[in-house]
């Protein structure tokens, strides 16, 4: 029994989500191998070999793997899939995009967003925006899984010394072409990996106010910035800041919700945070029901005060 983890990386280094996925794979009971598929991804493969508990790294390097196109990535995984009892991806935008292609080609049911490994074939996963936890058992020969990273403590990034094996490149599918990307450059921690997140809601009122009030707080705390769906829909914050059922699922040490009422879809994305602070002037806001510390106040006075007090 061996598990294959498909690493999330930027060719130069491994993304944090890979470490949580390795931890989940180790709980499935066998050896753990890691696939690095990319272009000029030698440094990422070397980093993967250092992860504690990884027995082997498989490195596939080709230009057509540079942008993680699902058609090519899935083919690369399928070429070695028969060697594995478990195939695990982190439940990131990239993982969610590729995994179902692998599962469908193997004719197996996919297990999305697992938060716990019960046995090698039984897993827990949230459904209905986290309002229920389903325990599901897979009868398929290969378990194809995405891992909700907040459910597993990361494996240690160092301490391992796995061999790196090269996987032969395949051919480009030719069906999809990468045209370009707009990735926001930021010195802030990544939302899903941040220890502290400050998040703003509709009460901010405008993109200018959002920036004016929330950014200094994030700077002061070294935090990532998040937002509720209402704030994103209104254009106060970029789309990929959305925390919630269909956005990012986060579980930082500290989550500060400012002017967020707390719809169930938002709570689904952050209620596993260690400490939750809610600042809201509506005493009835549902966010207070999950907050460790609630401050009933106008965020436009409370947040600047908070920045000063920190």
């Amino acid at each position: 029994m061996t598990a294959l983890v498909i690493a999330e990386h930027d060719n130069a280094s491994i993304k944090g989500a890979t470490l949580n996925t390795v931890a989940a794979a180790a709980q499935c009971g066998g050896d753990v191998h890691v696939l690095i598929a990319g272009h000029n991804a030698g440094p990422a493969a070397a980093a993967a070999a250092q992860i504690a508990g990884v027995a082997k790294v498989i490195h596939a390097d080709a230009e057509y793997l540079a942008h993680g196109l699902s058609e090519n990535m899935a083919a690369q995984v399928l070429a070695i899939a028969s060697n594995y009892s478990h195939i695990l991806f982190p439940a990131t935008a990239s993982g969610k995009n590729i995994v179902p292609r692998v599962a469908a080609k193997l004719d197996v049911g996919q297990i999305s967003d697992i938060t716990q490994v019960i046995t090698a074939d039984t897993f827990e996963r949230p459904i209905y925006a986290g309002n229920a936890i389903a325990t599901v058992q897979s009868g398929d020969a290969t378990k194809v899984i995405t891992v909700r990273t907040t459910g597993f403590d990361p494996a240690a990034a160092t301490g391992g010394s796995a061999a790196v094996e090269t996987q032969a490149a395949l051919a480009d599918s030719g069906k999809s072409t990468f045209m370009g990307s707009e990735i926001a450059k930021s010195d802030r921690p990544e939302l899903t990996a941040a220890k502290i997140i400050v998040s703003g809601g509709r009460a901010l009122g405008s993109a200018e106010k959002f920036n004016e009030v929330m950014t200094p707080l994030a700077d002061k705390l070294g935090a990532a910035l998040g937002a509720s769906r209402a704030a994103v829909d209104a254009g106060y914050a970029p789309n990929d800041w959305q925390v919630g059922q269909t956005g990012k699922i986060v579980a930082p040490q500290l989550y500060v919700a400012c002017g967020i009422s707390g719809a169930i879809q938002h709570l689904a994305g952050m209620k596993d945070s260690k400490v939750i602070v809610a600042i809201n002037k509506d005493p009835e806001a549902p966010i207070f029901s999950v907050a460790d510390y609630g401050l009933e106040a106008d965020l436009f006075t409370a947040v600047p005060e908070l920045i000063k007090a920190l």
């Binding site: 699902s70 179902p100 229920a132 599901v136 069906k175 269909t246």
Partner: protein, 249 residues
């Protein structure tokens, strides 16, 4: 070019659902059901492509119980031209739905299939990608912009950290993210018109698809409750608690 838009009947997103006392599943008796919100966005996008003259026919498809006819009527009220219900009372998992859709694609030969990225009940986020794999077609998932140009479709996708744009050969599979469009309100005249549109009903057996579930749900339980916290009177107390009690700053 034809477009197929699969739509799923799910618990309305405003309903707070509860786990059954015997942990066998969710209590869905007398709960309001609606079209999955992401699927509504998919229907809207297909109808807009038709209004632009890029698409000639929009076919809504639903797989599930008889009541899915209501969901299909809603899709036709938004502007879909006709509908197909694959009727079954069996539990359908994403792989089974993808196989049913593949069988319908073989019959209808659409240039595009536009699906919601995920259903808000099982939160799987699988069907579109599975369909793309089974049909050996390219996919543009989590779309925030869709443009059909010169026999290709350019899809701007929401990815971690921002956006990326892919160009896909047609036929292709697209799944919708939240901000692709804002679905129109259905008007009464359009609801009336939708009642007269064609709806075909088939069974999984007619399509030669085995829909047996692959995952067995052993139990469904309530998530652990967060202990109720406290209200603090002012910012100073908040900072003190965070520093000395929670020790997170």
């Amino acid at each position: 070019m034809k477009v197929i838009v699969p739509v799923k009947r799910v618990v309305d997103y405003n309903v707070k659902v509860r786990v059954k006392a015997d942990q066998s599943g969710m209590d869905l008796a007398n709960v309001k059901m609606s079209m999955n919100p992401f699927d509504e966005i998919a229907v809207e996008e297909a109808v807009r492509l038709k209004e632009k003259g890029v698409v000639t026919e929009v076919i809504a498809v639903s797989c599930g119980v008889t009541q899915c006819q209501e969901t299909l009527r809603t899709a036709m009220a938004i502007g879909a031209d006709r509908a197909i219900l694959v009727e079954t009372s069996e539990e359908l998992q994403p792989l089974a739905v993808a196989k049913l859709l593949k069988a319908l694609m073989d019959k209808e030969q659409p240039g595009l299939v536009i699906l919601g990225k995920q259903a808000i009940d099982d939160d799987c986020n699988q069907t579109g990608q599975m369909l793309a794999a089974l049909a050996d077609l390219p996919q543009g998932t989590f779309a925030s912009k869709v443009e059909v140009v010169d026999g290709k479709v350019n899809v701007t996708r929401e990815v971690d950290g921002g956006l990326e744009t892919l160009s896909l050969t047609l036929p292709a599979i697209v799944t919708t993210d939240l901000r692709l469009n804002e679905p129109r309100y259905v008007t009464l005249p359009n609801i009336m018109k939708a009642k007269k549109k064609q709806m075909d009903i088939v069974k999984p057996e007619d399509l030669g698809v085995d829909v047996s579930p692959r995952l067995k749900t052993l139990k469904v339980s309530e998530p652990p409750k967060r202990g109720a916290g406290i209200k603090v009177p002012d910012v100073a107390t908040l900072v003190d608690k965070l520093k000395n009690e929670a020790k997170v700053i």
